[in-house]
Amino acid sequence: MSWIHLAWKSLKNRKLATILTIFAMMLSLVLLMSVERIRRAAEAGFTQSVSGVDLIVGARSGSLQIVLYTIFNLGQATNNVSIESYNEIKSRPDVEWTIPYSLGDGHKGFRVIATNSDFFKYYQFRSKERITFQAGGPWNGMFDVVLGADVAERLGYQMGSEIVVSHGSTTGQGIQEHDDKKFRVAGILKATGTQLDRALYISLEGMEAIHLDWQTGSAPTPDKQLSINQITAEMVQPKNITSFFLRTKNRIQTLKLQRDINEFRSEPLLAVIPGVVLSELWQSLSTVEKVLKAISFLVMVVGLMSMLIALMTSLNERRREMAILRVLGASLKHIVGLIVLETFVLASVAIFAASLIKLTLEWMLGPWLQVKYGLYLQQPSFSIVEVSYILLMLVLALLMSLIPALGAMKSALKDGLSVRT
C-alpha cells in the first residue's frame, strides 16, 4: 500500500468532514475563478470595444471626453473637426486608414453614427475581430441604415424596416424628428458584445442630407423643406465630422503623428491613444471588481479554515492511528507527511471538482451571458490568474496543514504508544 492510498482511505473514513471540506474549498475556488472570468469578459468588452486603432482624433477637449463620446456615447463633442483637416491628416503618407464618425443624432435611445464604408472595412474590436453582418450588408443608397445587433433585437427591426432619426438626442426619445426623410434597414450586424451593438449606422452623406434644410439647429418649416429628389451628390458632401479613428502604417509613427495632430495649425485638435485611456478608465471603474474579489478571497479563507478545523478535530480521534503507525516504524516526519499528503489530496480533489464545475457553468451560462449582458467569455478558460488562484489555494492549504501536522507530531511524541483518552 502506498502513502497516498493510506491518506485516501483515511479521508474516506471521515467521509462527512471530508466532503464538507472539499465542498467549501471547491466553492471558494469556483467563486474566485468565476468572478475572474466575468471580470475579464467585462474588461475585454470595455477595453476592447475598439482595437487596431492607434489614435482617436477630435476637436480639442479632454482626452477622456473624446474616448467617451466617440466609443461609449457618453457626453458630447464641443466642437467638430472640419473635413479639410480630416482630409489633410488622412492623406499623410504615414496614415494607413481612417474611419470618420459624425455624431449627434439618435433613435429611440440609441445613437446614430454617420461614417463611411471604411467603417465596415477596417473597424476592429476585441482581438482583431472584424464587423460581420447577420443580414444584409453595407449601405447602397443615401437613406440606407445598418443596425447594431442590440438595436435590431430590442426594437424588433428587420431588413427593410423604416426608421426615423431624431435630431440632437442620442440617449432618450427625440423631440425633433427627421420624419420627412426616413431610412431603410439595409443590414444588421452580428452581435459583438461591445458598444457596436448599440448604435445605428448611416452614411456621412445621409447625415448631411437630413440636415440640409435645417437652419440654426431647428427643423425647417414645411415650405422650406427639401424633398429627397431635390438633393444632389454635390449638396451632401460632408463639411464636418465629430471625430475619427486613425491607423498608422507603422506603430512607431504613432507618437510623432499624435504630436503633429496636437500641434495642428488650422484648428485645435486632440489625438488620444485609445488603449491607454480605456485602461485608465477601466481602472477607475474597477471598484466593483475589487469588492467581488475581496469577497471571493474571504470565501477562500473560509474554505481553508473549514479544512483546518476538520483536520484539527480529527487529530484527537486519530491519536491511536498515529501510535499504530509509529510502532510499525513511522517516523515523526512520516506523521507530518501523512497529514500534509491528506491535505494535498483534499485540495487536489477540490481543485479538480472546481475546475470541472467552472467549465460546466461556463458552457451552460456562456450563451446566456452573451445575449443578456453582452459578456463574451473569451479564451483561455484558465488564464494565468485562474492558475495562480489554484496554486495559491494549494500552497495555502499545504501551509495551513502544517498546523495540524505538527500538532499530530507533538501528540505522537508525547503519547508514545499508549494513548490515554
Partner: protein
C-alpha cells in the same frame, strides 16, 4: 550466543518522576520471557524504550546486537521498522483498513521487501493464525480475539527477531489466552523470534520459558497504587 536483549544501568524518568533503573537484565535469542509488574510500574515504558519509541537517558540498551543508546531518532525509527514486532493490549488495527491491508501495513516502512518470501510467509501466517476467512473483512467486524491474531500476523510479517507484547491477552478469557499464546509461540518459533511479554496477570506465566518480576530487576520501587 548474542543476546536478544542486554540492559546495563538503564535509567529512565518522565521529568522528575523516576520510573526505571535497571542495573542488569538479559534475554537470550529465541527465549520467551514473561515480565510482570503492577500497574504503573513502568512495563510499557520499558517496552517503548526497547522499541526505540522513547530515547534512553542513561545506561546501555542493546537490542539484537544494536546499541540503541547510541542511535538518534531517525535510526531508532528505522531500527524499529526493521527488527521489532509490537502487539498492543487492544486497538492494534487501523479501523478503516481491511484485515489484509492491516497485516501488510509494516511493509510500507521497509526499505527492501522480498515479495515472494513475504507472500509465502503471509499465507503461512494467515493459515496458522486461522485468519483465512477474514482477510478482506473490515477489522471492526472482527471479534477481539480475531483482532489480536491479526495483530500477531502483522507483527510477524517482516520476520522481526523480537516481539514486544504489551498485555495482548488481557481482553481475552482464559481459554482464549492460552490458545492465543500457543499460536504466538508456534509461529515465533518457526521464524526464530524472541518474545518479551509484559502483563500484570500471572495466570499465564507458566507457558513461558522464564518469568521475571519487574520489581526484581528495577531498583526503583513503586508503592502499589491504591485503587479506589
Amino acid at each position: 550466543m548474542e543476546h536478544a536483549l542486554a540492559i546495563k544501568d538503564l535509567k529512565f524518568s518522565y521529568g522528575s518522576n523516576k520510573i526505571l533503573n535497571i542495573p542488569d537484565f538479559q534475554m537470550s535469542r529465541g527465549e520467551n520471557v514473561f515480565l510482570f509488574g503492577s500497574s504503573g510500574s513502568g512495563k510499557s515504558t520499558l517496552l517503548e524504550l526497547i522499541a526505540g519509541i522513547l530515547k534512553t537517558q542513561s545506561g546501555e540498551l542493546n537490542v539484537l546486537g544494536e546499541k540503541l543508546h547510541e542511535k538518534n531518532a531517525v535510526q531508532l525509527d528505522h531500527f524499529r521498522a526493521q527488527n521489532v514486532g509490537y502487539i498492543f493490549q487492544s486497538f492494534n488495527l487501523i479501523p478503516y483498513l481491511s484485515v489484509i491491508e492491516n497485516i501488510k501495513l509494516p511493509l510500507m516502512f521497509l526499505k527492501h521487501v522480498d515479495t515472494a518470501q513475504t507472500e509465502k510467509l503471509l499465507n503461512h501466517l494467515v493459515d496458522s493464525l486461522e485468519l483465512k476467512k477474514y482477510i478482506h473483512r473490515r477489522v471492526t467486524d472482527l471479534s477481539v480475539g480475531q483482532q489480536q491474531r491479526v495483530a500477531v500476523a502483522r507483527a510477524l510479517l517482516k520476520r522481526p527477531k523480537l516481539i514486544l507484547a504489551d498485555e495482548p491477552t488481557s481482553a481475552l478469557d482464559y481459554n482464549h489466552r492460552e490458545k492465543f499464546l500457543q499460536l504466538l509461540f508456534q509461529v515465533c518459533e518457526e521464524i526464530e523470534t524472541s518474545v518479551l511479554f509484559v502483563s500484570h496477570d500471572r495466570t499465564i506465566e507458566k507457558l513461558f520459558h522464564r518469568s521475571v518480576g519487574l520489581d526484581s530487576i528495577n531498583t526503583i520501587q513503586h508503592t502499589p497504587e491504591v485503587i479506589l
